[in-house]
Symmetry: C2
Subunit: 230 residues, 2 copies
């Protein structure tokens, strides 16, 4: 059986989990505490990061974008990149946007301080860094709204890798209840569409020991609740 | 004519320049001072980064990995990713290694302090950051040597995108004379092979105003010189 080494609140692992489910590919999840730098794991991926996908034949794949491109190649339907080279370039541009820019500006600042530090036994969150992340997230919610005013999904007419990358980032921040949904209706409506997909289900079932999710985290009708908040 | 908006010492732009040349695709270079945040440029790429490729028909492509994947699609031969899905995944894993890990650990610390700060009119380089970059570069030189002990090129038997990504990072640091070649013969011999390719020529001709390159920068026989240094 295919195995995915992961961490529950890694947006990059979540992107791969959604992609595997959407492709209808079965896999087993293995939690990897990357900060322990386990030797057998480093032998598989010297970068020491998750996700790492191990195929049934023992082939090892690392890096979330390399893994998803691989999944597109071995199981082309449904396709997540788009039908033309121009569309695929647009999808990949947006994946880079969310994987790199949104992660660096928002997700890492919030998650790194509130979750990763905690699990690695370091000191408490730096409130300035968290505040920066919370301010930056608004830019990305606005960008998502801007895109879905012009397109059905983020990169075009079909649900695809750009949606998975963006939703994976947001879902981690949403676990902590830190997405200001009520002020970003366009992004919220798009996220509700992603959240209701069966491929998203297992992400909503994730629970971290000692860190329960925000109350609306796994609620598919979270829009009504979020709307009445200040 | 195809246009590439770039900065001379951007490793990501250099990777795309090498790829375009290796594919035999003609293009004109346009320097974009990204820190000026020119409105017409931000309209092309809201991330505000280079490289940006504008096709003859006006199509705009941003993000270096999206651009190179696009080039692979519109001009498949010569191929830079590999013949099998497993090989392509390995190539993409290594591209992520050099684009993300080596850039964050080495290139950015050195180049960001010595060059980008200077051009953006900020204060002088932080010596601690530069020292960290110089220490970290050794890990990546060792990794390159480890790979070419086992393979002809970094990802396999053919020159490809992993080589371009790694050489693009190194060439920027080498412009400043900060690569400790004499202690890393394996990486040096591999780099000499990359450097002698015609696709690399225009990179070696780059000159930044007020910042001449290290003396061996455009020397294809730099190995002899580097070897007698301490």
């Amino acid at each position: 059986m295919r195995e995915l080494y992961h961490l529950p609140l890694s947006p990059f692992c979540r992107k791969v989990r959604i992609a595997l489910k959407e492709k209808g590919l079965r896999f087993a999840l293995k939690t990897e505490r990357v900060w322990e730098r386990r030797e057998a794991f480093l032998a598989m991926n010297p970068a020491g990061t998750v996700p790492v996908l191990v195929e049934a034949d023992g082939a090892v794949l690392a890096d979330s974008r390399a893994i998803v491109e691989y999944l597109e190649e071995i199981r082309p339907r449904p396709g997540f990149l788009g039908e033309t080279s121009a569309l695929r370039a647009e999808t990949r541009r947006l994946v880079a946007w969310f994987d790199e820019k949104m992660y660096a500006e928002a997700t890492r600042n919030i998650l790194g301080e509130k979750v990763q530090k905690r699990y690695r036994g370091r000191t408490g969150p730096d409130s300035g860094t968290v505040r920066a992340g919370l301010a930056n997230i608004r830019v990305h919610l606005d960008y998502i709204a801007w895109l879905v005013e012009r397109r059905v999904w983020l990169a075009g007419d079909s649900f695809g890798l750009a949606d998975m990358a963006a939703a994976a980032q947001l879902s981690c921040i949403d676990y902590l209840g830190d997405v200001p949904w009520s002020r970003h209706e366009g992004a919220r409506d798009w996220y509700a569409r992603v959240k209701s997909r069966p491929s998203f289900r297992s992400l909503l079932d994730d629970r971290l020991p000692g860190l329960p999710p925000a109350s609306h985290y796994d609620d598919l009708d979270f829009r009504a609740e979020a709307a009445i908040r200040p």
